[in-house]
């Protein structure tokens, strides 16, 4: 039965029914519904999987552009040469600020002349050292401009290890490909390699939530009361409301979030 016939019949019927109460179109639809349910479900599954593949596999490939570092760098080899570990090159300045990726000045002592015969070394000396040009390193862990991160507070005061956030980069023999988010310009290491935002290690992601996660644990440790359960927090709060000042809860300095104040990390 063709749809055309169906419809024509239906409309004729409708027109004849005096325009009163709604007539029932079900007579026809029932027949339509008898169509096989299989293809319908199949199409659903096809659509589902196609979009899942698009979202989980193709999308990240499109989202990130891959960039090579101007020259390669061997952390292992340099670590063997220095005495102070990471801080030998990634040091703190007099004023407490963190120097970040080394400047040419620091390399020039050893690399005035070409050391060895690796092509990267030759390129480094010829292209950069002798021309006095800084190497335009692509910084994997560069946070956006709105972030203020005090390395000294974490390393000197809290005694944290570089690895906690940066991973085992010091044990690498060459630099990995730098991936840049085409929309935001962020390094992929900020969001993390996993497009779904899952992480296994502390250094897998460098989003605000990762800072928060660690800080929450630290705060809990300091309080020595264990991680505060939601119920305990709520009870603390109720105590606070009923009789202010008596609650033992130690809150962060932010009135809004009761964590660290926003601009401790944002500028």
């Amino acid at each position: 039965m063709s749809a055309l016939d169906n419809n024509a019949k239906e409309i004729a019927g409708d027109a004849g029914s005096d325009g009163g109460a709604t007539s029932s179109p079900e007579i026809n639809t029932k027949e339509q519904d008898k169509g096989p349910a299989g293809p319908v479900i199949l199409f659903f599954i096809v659509g589902l999987f196609a979009s899942l593949i698009l979202g989980w596999i193709i999308f990240p490939k499109l989202l990130y552009s891959k960039k090579k570092q101007p020259i390669d760098f061997n952390h292992v080899m340099h670590m063997a040469e220095v005495e102070d570990g990471c801080e030998s090159c990634h040091f703190f300045r007099e004023d407490g600020t963190y120097s970040g990726v080394p400047k040419l000045d620091q390399c020039i002592d050893c690399h005035e002349e070409i050391q060895g015969d690796s092509p990267d070394e030759i390129k480094f000396v010829e292209e950069y050292v002798s021309k006095g040009r800084e190497v335009p390193w692509l910084v994997y862990s560069r946070q956006p401009d709105c972030v203020f991160f005090s390395h000294v507070a974490h390393v000197k005061v809290a005694g944290m290890d570089c690895v906690t956030c940066h991973g085992h980069i010091g044990e690498s023999e060459s630099l990995k490909i730098y991936e840049e988010n085409r929309i935001t310009g962020y390094s992929r290491d900020i969001w993390g390699k996993s497009i779904g935002g899952f992480k296994k290690n502390t250094w897998d992601r460098m989003k605000m939530d990762d800072c928060a996660e660690c800080h929450r644990k630290m705060t809990a440790n300091i309080e020595r009361t264990g991680v505060k359960t939601p119920t305990k927090r709520l009870i603390d709060h109720l105590v606070d409301v009923v009789s202010p000042g008596t609650s033992m809860s130690e809150k962060g300095s932010s009135v809004q979030t009761e964590r660290g104040a926003c601009f401790v990390c944002h500028k």
Binding site: E94, G96, C146, S150, A153, S253, F263, V264
Partner: protein
């Protein structure tokens, strides 16, 4: 929620000394990467974190008097700590009150530009980026990395140069200290003021100059006990952390609204 060693940074501006020269305004703009446009004469569109107002006593010649009043963000404490007019209204937690320093922050990347905070601020201390900030070619070289330039469509305001606090902290940490000294953290306007009219420090610390100058009364939300000191719109209950000093009665009176025939300001405690 009082912290041990919690600070309450505040400012005292001596209006007898202030000459209205505008150094504080410019120092602030230079310190905080404040943008500028071709025409800045329309003051309701001109981003000036710290604005110097000219007050007049309204008397005819030759009894006229004028006084200049620099107005940074007041970093209001509100009736209970952190209930500043703007902080509680921000729908996205883009502005916050820090109980450790008493400073009201503004996070530009969080702000989505609803401008409710501007509506709530009786001091007009908040400014909106109506335009993209544009520096003439080459001039972006002087931008400071310590303060992020704001994008179009967000609100900004005075931060008491909080980045200087951060830098002072970093230095202290490097030197193995946890606390910073009074002179290690001073705002750009304080430093620049040629007349030395601005004093900045911790109001909770009785040894700091600001405390000695205004003698804040902790029982009354830091109301000044120095008879020459006053705060702007004291009766609204905003509890600003910026105090003014003036030996002139008319100037002190210009700091708040008074009913006609109201002999002296009655200290009403706001029920908020």
């Amino acid at each position: 929620m009082k912290h041990k060693n919690a600070k309450k940074y505040g400012m005292v501006i001596d209006l007898d000394k202030c000459t209205g020269c505008g150094s504080c305004m410019v120092a602030c703009m230079a310190e905080n990467n404040v943008p500028f446009r071709k025409d800045e004469s329309n003051k309701v569109l001109s981003i000036t974190w710290l604005r110097v107002y000219q007050l007049t006593n309204g008397k005819p010649f030759p009894n006229t008097d004028i006084c200049y009043l620099p107005r940074p963000c007041m970093h209001c404490e509100g009736q209970h700590e952190g209930h500043s007019p703007c902080v509680s209204v921000c729908p996205a937690v883009a502005t916050d009150y820090n109980t450790e320093t008493g400073i009201v922050s503004q996070i530009y990347t969080r702000c989505f530009g609803c401008r409710y905070c501007m509506a709530s601020c009786p001091y007009h201390a908040r400014y909106f980026n109506w335009w993209d900030p544009v520096w003439p070619d080459g001039m972006e070289k002087y931008l400071s990395p310590n303060v992020s330039p704001r994008m179009r469509g967000v609100v900004e305001k005075c931060s008491f140069c909080f980045h200087r606090y951060q830098l002072a902290k970093e230095k202290a940490f490097k030197e193995g200290r946890r606390e910073i000294k009074e002179d290690e953290y001073q705002t750009a306007c304080t430093q620049a003021c040629p007349a030395g009219a601005i004093t900045f420090g911790d109001l909770n610390n009785p040894n700091h100059a600001v405390s000695r100058m205004v003698k804040p009364d902790p029982k009354h939300h830091g109301r000044p006990t120095n008879p020459n000191a006053f705060r702007l719109l004291e009766r609204l209950g905003t509890n600003p952390k910026v105090y003014y000093l003036s030996s002139r009665e008319w100037v002190r009176r210009a700091g708040d609204n008074y009913l006609e025939n109201e002999a002296k300001y009655k200290k009403t405690v706001h029920q908020g």
